[in-house]
Amino acid sequence: MTKIHAAIVADTDQGVVGQSVPMVDACEKVTGKAIYGADVEMPGMLYGRVLRSPHPHAKILSIDAAEAQRLPGVRAVVTWADTSGELIGFSQYSDHYIFAKDEVRFVGDEVAAVAAVDEDTAHRALKLIKVEYEVLPAVYTLDEAMAPGAPLVHDVTPENIAHQITYSRGDVDAAFAKCDVILEETFETSPAHPAYIEPQACLAAFDAYGNADIYANTQSPGGSIREKTAQVLGLPLGKVRIHQTFLGGGFGGKVWQHIIPATAVLARKAGRPVKMMYSRREDLACTPSRVPMRMKLKMGADRTGRILAKETLVLADNGAYCINSPIVIDTAATRIENLYRFENIRTTAKLIYTNKVSTGTFRGFGNPQGTFMVESMMDMLAKELAMDPAQIRIVNAVHPGYVTAHGWKINSCELEQCIHEVKRISGWEEKRKANRFGYGIGMSCVIHVNGNRSCFPAFDGSTAYISMNESGEAMVMCAEGDLGQGASTVFAQIAAQEIGLPMESVRVLRVDTEYAGFAFGAFASRITVNGGNAVRHAAAAVRRALLETAAGMRGGDVDTFTIHQGIVTDGTGWSATVAEVSLQYIYAHAGTNLRCDGFFIPPDVVIADKVTKYGNISCAYSFAAHVAEVEVDKDTGKVEVLNYYAVHDAGKLINPMLAEGQIEGGVAQGIGFALYENYCYGTDGHMLNNSFLDYKLPTFKDVPKITTGFAQGCDPVGPMGAKGLGEPTIVPVASAIGNALADALGERITQMPFTAEKVKGVVRRVMAQAAKEGQA
């Protein structure tokens, strides 16, 4: 304990922003004191479990829970009838209920739930609920769902098209006519689960007045799931209180959690607190995966490598219901079109319903999919033009001041610097000369947002407040919360720096919506810029008020006072601690703590046009360039990532150690996406690999040394020059590995993941071809 604490306070003389201070909650985590979702307990607590559909598509004819209700220990059984009955979902795409009303649409669809005195009783009760189904025909693949006359997943949605966008810019046909080279290819990405180490968990209770009190490992405590929960309960938003517990990871999978409204409905009916925890199998098979996509791309360039035209058709597998997936496919289609100076583009994207688990958000929000398509194609064009893949990227890169095809105003942008730096640290030039079958090196770049104005039409931005307690500690509350990525540490560093406090005098409170403001939560890599700026504004106001209070105590011009390391001075030798000043403020205000609010409204952003998708959706954009080196076992087809290099433009870093950690985690997760992770279904729509035995995440033996680097940069909008880093770290990984693999084999695999079996097929073909040519 002492050691960790000592490290936290070390060397902060130069200010704490930019220093690798350990996470402010490290002590709680390593000593086991942190309360995670599954740790929450309440007196009289019951245990909940969900009854799920065994069929991929069926009508519910009847549900008979009488026998389950009679089982000793069972306190409540709930179905759709116990909810407000309203459809929920992503805005106008609301297409489901928290418990199925009359139809189930995937194996695992929620039908009912039970609360009982212990988990075993709840489990037994599930088996006693009699559900009569009429099985309906199901569609599992894009091709099945799009076939003429295919069974409809939702009767009201013709052709199973959940959502569709079509837009174009410039004169695509004329631009293709000017191209010296035009290539076409179809790319496919696989579903992948966020596979956070802590399954979803929730505890819900109701007070005597019908207010819901909920504890959940959610990454969006104030966001859309709170709103959906209120809707399902038929309560005004203010009557739903959510406490954010510690999270064992989220990665986008804990933005939208059915477990929260389901547990609340159970708790209300049972009249007692209910805790629900998903099993790993349930979590993998029944909560949203990354949206898998099939993307047909035609791209043309002139002799210098300048991309002149791009035409794209994106088909995405939505699964049964829309869980943010419409914006995921919009992101997959549009985001990558802002990385380079595209001028002529024509894109159609269709989101297709199937009778599988719903797909949705996972670190990158569709951008890894679109990036895999375009960044693979960039290498294909480079090869055709005999260009260095790094060079074709530099030729096309956006730069500060550039306005992209989608109207994105590129502000700070060190993309070129990232490319040069990643070339340098990876030894790119030298290693590319290797030209040995089985060994390859590949590059990929990324652009990502720092918040997306289009996600929530009502407003954008963030709020925070800081309250100075009697001991001079700054208590920071930012409604965005912390999902484990280190937001609390970043907030603490910003507050400490802005006020003039040592790190140990700052405490970041966990989010409780009763006391925090309204917020969307952690997604779209928005926390550092949005939450960070809100905290900074609150801190600046606190500093001002402390200085004014001190000036009142001492007398004199407030501008002669300053705060450093928790000490207020006026330059005459007088000093007071921030604790003394804070206490003075409290006394002078009848016990009121010095408390200041801060908020941040992203400047110059608009909601992208619904049809054309045009508009500057974010106030800052993050960039990176990655390089992967791979070695293929030519006998087995197994791919080893030998080395990985990642250089990011995250503006000025708040905490270099946390920034490196973000990159290492994102790259490791990206390696899983590229090489191993996939969903395997039986012919009856059951997921076969819904456990970590067969859902293959990389182990640390599979993750190579990751060399990280940062571009020198400073964002004019981000707090103290910083930008977000959560998602861009995973976005380019699959394409960098795919490009390295294409370099190793001389042939490209366009369908992820790059399993040994698939790679071996290519090796065999390439070697057979070489042998044939050798004979000829």
């Binding site: 489990h123 197994k638 191993y676 395997c680 033996k701 040994a756």
Partner: protein, 292 residues
Amino acid sequence: MIEPFVYYTPAAVAEAVQLLGQRSAKLIAGGTDVLVQMQEGLLSPEALVDISGIDALKGIREETEHVVIGAAATHHEVMEWAHNLPQYAALAEASGSVGTPQVRNIATVAGNLCNAVPSADLGAPVLLYNSSLTLASANGSRQLPAIEFFTGPKKTALLPGEMVLSIRLTAPPVGCASAYCKHGPRKASDLAMVGVAAMVGLDDNSAVTSLVIGLNAVAPTPILVQGCEQLVGQVMSLSLLDRCARMAAQQCRPITDYRAGAEYRRDMVGVLTKRALERCAAKLGKEVREDG
């Protein structure tokens, strides 16, 4: 959920077999397979008989002509014991490839055999040593050749109420080395997509004095490649490797499932057979010769 059960920790084999015979009981040692199946609702025994505390079943005993691996001996213990014994390296390498260190510290070699999934890593290595199993029940004990122990996926020749006391390996001739090669998607913590165990003896001129190859995960049970004895006398060469790989690939009967396709598995049997033989030769300080 796990259905309630009575948990016994007998101190002696006689007590254990009594308990096993009495009621719907399931034996555990490490419990790493049984408890998982109970959690999944695939097994719900009325009683668990935990034999991990029976002294007579612990450890590995070397006799003149045999090695006896007790039913309570863990993978970790086998790894430690065979660490510097090239003739038993296949066992050490197979045990070392099971699960994770946490699993290897409690899971047993005998348990791996009794679970009898086709991908069980210890199946093929145990077959290399002309092994037999000592089985016991309340009615007495018997010896069963290991090759007859496996009767199908998750099926063994164990009778109701019967347990494995030990695995009895025949010590290979001096100058033999063995190896186990396993293929899975990752570098660790994988089930075998294919596993190949081999044992080779070579004389001073690199001529084969003995040759045994066993295969995991490519048939309903672990199998031995037939016809290897006919290769005795041949020089350890690339063409011999090819021939062995062909024999193994021809004799295996892999299936296609979500983990891998049958043809890929067959291909990998060939690849891993060569690698296992090469590693045996390397352990004996011999190079595989170029032909011609």
